[in-house]
């Protein structure tokens, strides 16, 4: 019995050590393919383990406001981190624009639409019965999608066919599974192994929607400020930036 108790105590102790080292990152859904790879490289290099939690940036912001135990927040825009800074929930001097997100129009491989010729106008084709976008209320990519539809002056003609994913990953899944015939999703999803060979995409020009300046920030309530800062520092390394580039993110300095 006492052996068992000792073992239990040991396990508990080991567990608490593990969590003391581990940092938890809340990240925008468009990072769902790239970030696990970044983390893998980081863990291999430093031994630091990182737990990931994905969602729409707006949802994550709201969770943070309600005390979610995250150390770092990767947003798909800069507004949400700015709001958190203004509310004293994030550390201003850690704010880092790590990438510029790109919006693409994606159709499944079997789609007859010629995206390179039609561009956004492909959405007016009668074969496109449903168009998936992320929720504009909580997801920067959803707002970008709406802005792009307005930019090409087709919003009113397609708005009745929009289906709204809870975040941009779900929007991608709606069109990847063939339930929607087209989707306005993140380039990082279109380039991810899970979707790469399953469809074609057309990159929406940057001037069609407000720039998706993706920003990361260390959260004020984090008990591991140093570890969190070190992880953000890693994002500036050539290793990290080249990986972000392969997932279609523009780097903050460069223009299209």
């Amino acid at each position: 019995m006492s052996e068992l108790r000792r073992l239990l105590a040991l396990l508990l102790l080991a567990g608490s050590f593990a969590t003391a080292q581990e940092i938890t990152v809340a990240a925008a859904a468009d990072m769902s393919a790239a970030l696990p790879q970044l983390v893998e490289a980081y863990t291999k290099k430093t031994g630091q383990t990182v737990k990931l939690s994905f969602g729409a940036s707006g949802n994550l912001t709201n969770q943070i406001r309600n005390g979610a135990p995250f150390d770092v927040f990767f947003s798909a825009d800069e507004e949400y981190p700015q709001q958190l800074i203004a509310e004293g929930l994030a550390q201003k001097n850690t704010l880092y624009r790590y990438a510029v997100g790109r919006l693409v129009l994606w159709v499944p491989a079997e789609s007859p639409l010629d995206l390179s010729k039609l561009g956004m106008k492909a959405l007016l084709d009668p074969s496109v019965k449903k168009i998936s976008i992320a929720n504009p209320a909580t997801a920067p990519y959803g707002r970008a999608a709406e802005a792009a539809l307005r930019h090409f002056e087709i919003y009113d003609r397609v708005s009745s066919r929009l289906v709204v994913g809870e975040n941009v990953s779900q929007a991608a899944q709606f069109v990847e599974s063939g339930n929607a015939q087209a989707g306005l999703i993140a380039l990082s999803h279109a380039l991810a192994p899970a979707m790469k060979d399953k469809g074609r995409y057309w990159t929406v020009p940057l001037d069609a929607y407000p720039t998706l300046n993706q920003a990361a920030v260390v959260l004020s309530k984090s008990k591991q400020q140093d570890a969190a800062r070190r992880f953000l520092e890693f994002l500036r390394s050539p290793e990290a930036t080249s990986l972000l580039t392969t997932y279609g993110f523009n780097l903050p300095a460069e223009k299209h």
Partner: protein, 224 residues
């Protein structure tokens, strides 16, 4: 308060619980009177939605009934669209999701009817169907009310399946639970609170009807 979402949800729940009366009674009848040795397998299958996460159901509606599957293509050729993102899709998902909440109370009340009465009815020349209609059904009123009310309330509160296959279309698939979720996620707590409170009150009323209907001896009315 989003009344469009509210009435949409009430419509969904009313359609689903009414259809479940039609679908659930034959199933419950069979479950009650069948002597098939593998009956327990059917009972287990009917009860599945109680234990399965809604995500499993949502996943199958999206993928197994999606446009890539034979079943999905058949549906598409019939109706011109896929099940996902439509009101019918929600109805079908909810039928599966709420099935045990109708069938189990039905079957329990059918099973509670004294078999002597059934034998007496048969000896007086009634067919099993006549006996069922004239003896079993009237004696099972409480069970029928319970099944109807529970499946109504359960559909009213459905969230996971709708989140996965609904596509959040106002007036079509944005149900009240999705609306609450969106309100909370955008920190509109007062709006979320109004809607949540209304749902709480309705659910309480529905469950009160269930327990009231099942309150055995009404010798002493609740009003006294």
């Amino acid at each position: 308060m989003n009344w469009e979402a509210f009435w949409l949800t009430v419509r969904l729940a009313a359609i689903v619980s009414t259809l479940l009366i039609a679908i659930g009674i034959p199933i419950a009848y069979w479950l009650t009177y069948s002597r098939w040795r593998w009956k327990f397998l059917v009972e287990a299958a009917v009860a599945l939605p109680i234990v399965l996460p809604p995500t499993v159901l949502g996943f199958y509606v999206l993928v197994a009934l999606g446009s890539r599957s034979p079943l999905g293509r058949w549906w598409e050729s019939l109706t011109g669209h896929t099940l996902a993102f439509t009101f019918e899709g929600l109805v079908i998902g909810s039928l599966l999701y709420s099935l045990p909440f109708a069938v189990q109370p039905f079957a329990a009340s059918f099973g509670a009817v004294d078999r002597q009465l059934l034998r007496a009815s048969a000896s007086l020349g009634h067919s099993p169907l006549q006996t069922f209609r004239r003896i079993v059904l009237p004696l099972s009123k409480a069970g029928l009310v319970t099944g109807f009310a529970l499946s109504f309330a359960h559909t009213l509160g459905e969230f996971g399946v709708v989140l996965m296959v609904g596509g959040n279309i106002p007036g079509v698939t944005r149900t009240i639970s999705i609306d609450i979720y969106d309100q909370v996620q955008t920190a509109n707590y007062s709006s979320a609170n109004q809607t949540a409170l209304l749902l709480l009150v309705i659910s309480f009323l529905v469950l009160s009807i269930v327990y009231g209907a099942n309150r055995r001896p009404w010798a002493v009315g609740p009003w006294r």
